[in-house]
């Protein structure tokens, strides 16, 4: 199985740290409602980097990728169904 090089790990780490300070900095921008979506989106980018390189999803077989996606998929269902209830309760 192909694996990432040491350099790929180092670049991933540096990008993760840069993204971290981008998240911290963006929290101080006055973006109104857009603050949270921006910060969470950047956290997802970080997660993607950890998944793809550190956890080697990029180099994994399809079945491993499906198993890895399954947890996030069910979590998305849980969030969508729960929040579609709570968000709509205020629509009187």
């Amino acid at each position: 199985m192909k694996t990432p090089s040491k350099k790929a790990y180092a670049v991933t780490w540096i990008v993760l740290v840069i993204l971290h300070f981008t998240i911290l900095g963006s929290a101080y921008l006055k973006l109104g409602w857009a603050n949270t979506p921006l910060i969470v989106a950047l956290a997802f980018v970080q997660t993607g980097l950890v998944l793809f390189y550190f956890m080697e999803i990029r180099y994994s077989t399809k079945v491993v990728r499906v198993f890895a996606a399954a947890g996030f998929f069910w979590l998305a269902i849980q969030f969508t169904l729960t929040m579609s209830d709570y968000l709509m309760r205020q629509w009187h």
Binding site: H20, L42, A43, V50, F54, V64, L75, F79
Partner: protein, 220 residues
């Protein structure tokens, strides 16, 4: 492949009888680990969902409470845990490249960084307690009422995260011995890789805890 070389075990000594070969056994172990991690995602997911619902209802209180978290401790710990994921990846990489001494070195670095995270968290918890951020009768009166829900989630989520990190440190410590004896190599490093997956998962949880707990309306 030289038989009898302890650093390079031959296939029959590492493959259990139900598997065709080492590759199939390795793939099965990875699938099992990802299945476990899916349950962990849903386990923490329930708490993130509770956070989401309460934050939706009591946003102003959550924002006011969030500003009482210590951003310096939180940020330092983020850098520590991101770096620990890097050293963990290097430990697994060293095994794949047969750099036996590097495996132990990177494992010890990861254990040290994990421990440093817990020490920093300990100092942070101490400050949180003296600042009266524990929900209950002595809760800081400067924070609005539902800020208590925020801090209930803060203690539960960071506490469970710390428990997971402690377990990770324990697992890596158990692997350091076999690693020193040269048990892991390019042909056999499954325990190391699975421990790595767990370690990176704990890192990912923190990647969401940090912005959601420390960074609500910091600009206000």
């Amino acid at each position: 492949m030289t038989k009898g070389n302890p650093l390079m075990p031959d296939e029959s000594s590492i493959v259990a009888e139900q598997f065709d070969d080492a590759a199939q056994q390795h793939e099965t172990a990875r699938l099992g680990m990802w299945t476990f991690l899916a349950t962990e995602i849903l386990f923490f997911g329930g708490l993130f969902l509770a956070y989401d619902v309460y934050r939706h209802f009591y946003f102003a209180d959550f924002a006011a409470a969030s500003r009482h978290t210590d951003l310096v401790f939180g940020t330092v710990n983020s850098i520590i845990i991101l770096t620990s994921s890097f050293t963990m990846a290097l430990a697994v990489h060293a095994a794949k490249e047969n750099y036996h001494r590097s495996i132990v070195r990177w494992l010890l670095a990861t254990i040290a960084l994990g421990t440093a995270f817990l020490v920093v968290k300990g100092f942070e918890y101490h400050k949180d307690i003296t600042d009266h951020l524990v929900p209950g009768p002595a809760f800081n009166p400067a924070i609005p009422l539902h800020g208590q829900i925020f801090f209930w989630l803060y203690w539960t989520m960071t506490g469970l995260h710390a428990v997971h990190l402690s377990i990770g440190i324990g697992i890596l410590s158990l692997l350091a011995g076999p690693a020193r004896k040269g048990k892991f190599c390019s042909r056999y490093h499954t325990p190391l890789e699975l421990a790595g997956l767990y370690w990176h998962f704990v890192d990912i949880i923190w990647l969401f805890l940090y912005p959601l707990l420390y960074l609500i309306q910091r600009h206000a």
